[in-house]
Symmetry: D2
Subunit: 141 residues, 4 copies
């Protein structure tokens, strides 16, 4: 399945996001989809910042969680009941001030029961990682 | 340091929360503090739910992250610049509908450089774990 | 299932260990079993040490991995095909020299598909945590 | 520092491995070093297998842990006292029978206090991931 193209288009995934995660749909833009991969863009607002200009951990977690979910949806079609069972996140650097965040997801495993996705988050235009995350989703049987 | 009482009172930690995390200060109530431990209470609202009545992963992450931070603050006094460097979370069960969430934190390590806290989240009045998380904070030197 | 007694006895689990993990069966002693819990003891040898007297990470990982597996086996009976799907480990302190290691496991979830266990490792007779780990096992359907 | 070449050669790192990790030095071969990256090769033996032909979790953990450490050593020179503080591992697929394992490490962060490395483990000649791991090392000040 790894080399197949996504079933859904960028517009379809963006629509799914608006329906499924209305709280964050305005913050996240689906920029690109590929086989087992996706790219999301997020424009941080005041409410995502912590003192010192750091993006809050929960904001980065939300971005990573959403990114893996959307990469999964893009590959298998709408599947609203998959749930996160495990997440590990490393927060590595302060993002650059005034820049958008870019989340690049790769699905490492797309099994019938478990899906594992790896996310790298950077400031737009930068090389250095702001955070990395691995998320496991459990699919309903 | 593990057996010492917290330096801050419940009211002082609640005040710190209001200042430091204004976005979530209305959602979280500091219920109790002890040596290297704390208990937070959260009343989930519509915006924290996902289809099927599950509490969203980001909501549980935010609760866990905050709980460890507040347990640290209670022990060492205000220290706004400690940052999360690592988080691992296991999401285990759907919370019970219409119940508050209770987060119990234990600080497993309170070092000069790194602080590690373990969080158990349950539905109020229930035994079963909804989620567990371990958070590592790095303290400024 | 959480409050039920284990199906297997300490001797039966020790036998299972000898069959299933012959490489480590001489190092690990099953000390106690309870509902959803187990305690293992390990006597570290020279080959488990790193310079400075620290127990190596792989040794602690092996102890944690084994401990969760044996706690599972004790509850459900022999099930040789369950496999670890995820592990997160925090290494917190150097163990005390010349002491055995004690691993206390609690099964946080014992589902049909996924099993999650939490492990706390200490030096025998000490309170401070040497390491903590959470392991997820996937059970064959 | 990310774009600099390693300070140590493949032979120097292999020597370091023989001195520092004598238990595994015969199992692991340093195949390549690059800026912030390294490749290790491991030939699994009978003692690394579990029933069903799966490589044991502890074996994969050891390979990942060692790989990050050696990538660090290659960049900064011998530093025997760095210790693992956190590890998260996802075990994803059975390796292919009779094949060596290849571990590719990328150092995501090489800070003065914390070093984070990401490891991808595959069967030699294969694309599919057997496991991925992220390891954090704490450097002595």
């Amino acid at each position: 399945m790894g080399s197949e193209a996504p079933r859904l288009s960028v517009a379809e995934v963006q629509d799914f996001l608006a329906t499924e995660f209305p709280q964050v749909a305005d913050d996240f833009i689906v920029e690109a989809l590929g086989p087992m991969s996706a790219r999301l863009r997020m424009e941080p607002g005041e409410r995502h910042l912590r003192p010192g200009g750091t993006i809050s951990g929960p904001t980065l977690f939300t971005l990573a969680d959403c990114a893996v979910y959307l990469a999964l949806i893009a590959m298998v079609g709408s599947e609203a009941l998959a749930v996160t069972t495990n997440a590990s996140v490393d927060f590595m650097r302060k993002p650059e001030a005034g820049r958008a965040l870019i989340a690049d997801v790769t699905l490492l495993k797309l099994g019938r029961a478990l899906v594992v996705g790896d996310v790298h988050i950077r400031s737009e235009g930068g090389d250095a990682l702001v955070a990395r995350a691995t998320m496991t989703y459990s699919r309903p049987r």
